[in-house]
Subunit: 369 residues, 2 copies
């Protein structure tokens, strides 16, 4: 099996989404070295664009050289020391993953849970913050396992009042919905390139506030990961340009072009495009008996979760397999406790288009009609 | 600055090296999902090819979703527990990096050092192994900072006799010189894609022996990195196909094509091509007053280190800048204590060609003539 032999898929699952042709062209560009002055110029531009997208002025904003889960890990290994109290809002698989990663950093983890398909309760989070006085509070902006868009401001404000740093997962929000980490008061945010940025998986944009940088610089114990230590990474992306590891040059070429596409479109148009496509999808899927799992108020436009009509429930995996095999359309099943109970349909980045919605609806009508 | 605006470079530094056009084409291929059955088929083939290249039958052979330094970290976080005795052969920057990474895993690190530009002394290593009885012995096959190709068999044999696991850095050897980890008795090896495999940086091929897999599975403490935990990774690359993190699909497309190129050429032809190009380079550079840092017996063909003629020494950084700016040729300076004292010239993968040697020599003759 060679890459050229693979089928052409329409990727409407929870990510990766399809890569924009201009990004694919950038990936194929001949390399320059990771210490080349022209590469540093390109990287500076990538960092600027990421700051705009995260809604931040944080100097330490960069693409981590690994996928989104490594971005999550980068936030925890730098900001958590063994024995630290860490409060985590768990409303799905990715909140749960945060708790696992924090525990591996030696944190004393407290979980505040929400029912799957709902948002965290800000009062419950604020109560726990007052009670536990955590050093770090972590939560997920766009929970990819449930399709919930979590309101951030109240929880972040309560955290800052208590002196806690706030870590935020923006994997499925960045580039698809508004992210404003400075306005919210978030200290460390991470995302991924394969969702709303229409790039391949492989990089994790992160941003660290000045408070977070200071926390990392004044740790008692060394950061347990050499690869993800922001004290070292800052010397490569910053002015001193000290070699740390070899930056994934091609992936950064792709990201540079993906970010340019976002800028050309503008985030206002882009968020509206995501919202419009999701609304059309929900309407059309409703006619087929699929119902939104999530209340409209906290529904994530880039990833729609739908409960299944009775006639699909038993054979849902088979129907997804048929969509993939006969129509080349990928949609996602449920993850964790929602496996077999929901579908996850991503309309992310370039894929958030009416034609893609219609292609899926038409295929499903044929299969279910 | 857009990727399309960047200059075309001939990358003759310590890596990345230039990417083969067929690999670049593969990088630009439309994605399939990371849980797509066709992707798993492709990934199976990549794992098979990597086994052949590492010279191993280890089932757990896979590309880690990050660069070579993360592959190093993957070996240590899985095999080292806090308090473990770890013996590290340090003959350059990358042996030193191993010691840093091991220390961040809580290891009690003993370093056996070699003079820069020489190989580790097997007797000194064997003595230390007998004295310390380490749980892990780690060393570098191809030290990218010095250009030394380390003989492995005696040190690995002494390690196994003492019951220690052996970790080996193959970053600049895999695909350029013979690697035979089963024959040597190596338990965990890691490499990188941007050196002799002519792929972009971003993946780290690794291989874990059955002994290593058992060590990781029977740890007392959890692996400190969730992202690099081979107990979890094995479920994605193995038969159960459990989602862990989103695999970097495009990078794996590139690697699949890069590995196919190696197979088409055959490693015998390929190693000979690397040796031939390096010999021509050394001869030509000798005429210009550059002398090999490393004895012929332990010289690494893929990366040649050269001491500088007096007239270059003072202005070596300036000369490298001129090569880059006016000839679009990148060569590497010294790293660490060798900065300003040597050049590092990589002829790796597709770049190990006579034409590239001649281009560099001609440019240098013009500059120095």
């Amino acid at each position: 099996m060679r890459p050229a032999d693979l089928p052409r898929r329409l990727l409407l699952g929870p990510g990766p989404s399809n890569v924009h042709p201009r990004v694919r062209e950038a990936l194929a560009r001949p390399l320059v070295g990771h210490m080349d002055p022209t590469f540093f110029e390109l990287l500076d531009g990538v960092q600027d664009s990421l700051r705009a997208l995260f809604g931040t002025g944080h100097p330490l904003t960069l693409p981590i050289s690994a996928t989104g889960s490594a971005g999550m890990e980068a936030c925890f290994v730098n900001l958590v020391e063994p024995g630290d109290e860490v409060l985590i809002g768990v409303a799905g698989v990715f909140g749960d993953r945060m708790a696992q990663v924090a525990a591996r950093c030696g944190a004393r983890v407290t979980r505040i849970e929400a029912e799957l398909g709902t948002a965290l309760d800000p009062d419950a989070m604020a109560d726990a913050i007052g009670r536990i006085r955590p050093r770090v509070v972590a939560l997920v902006h766009a929970e990819t396992s449930t399709g919930v868009l979590q309101p951030i401001d109240r929880i972040a404000a309560a955290s800052r009042e208590a002196g806690a740093l706030v870590i935020l997962d923006c994997v499925t929000s960045l580039g698809g919905v508004t992210v404003a980490i400075d306005e919210w008061g978030v200290d460390a945010a991470y995302s991924a390139t394969q969702k709303c940025l229409s790039c391949p998986p492989g990089l994790s944009p992160v941003s660290f506030s000045q408070r977070a940088v200071e926390r990392a610089a004044t740790r008692v114990t060394p950061v347990q990961s050499w690869y993800l230590d922001v004290n070292l990474l800052a010397n490569y992306v910053g002015e001193s340009r000290v070699y740390h590891h070899t930056a994934p040059v091609s992936a950064i070429f792709g990201l540079a072009e993906g970010l340019r596409l976002v800028e050309e479109e503008g985030m206002a148009t882009r968020t509206e495009r995501h919202r419009h496509a999701a609304n059309l999808l929900i309407e059309g899927m409703g006619d087929l008996g699929f119902e939104p799992l999530v209340d409209a108020a906290v529904r994530l436009p880039s990833l729609t979760t739908l409960t299944l009509p009775e006639k699909v429930e038993r054979g849902e995996a088979d129907l997804r397999r048929r969509l993939l095999e006969f129509y080349n359309i990928e949609v996602g099943g449920g993850l964790g406790p929602l496996a077999g109970r929901i579908w996850r349909i991503g309309l992310m980045g370039e894929n958030a288009r009416v034609t893609n919605v219609e292609a899926l609806l038409s295929a499903l009508r044929r299969e279910l009609g």
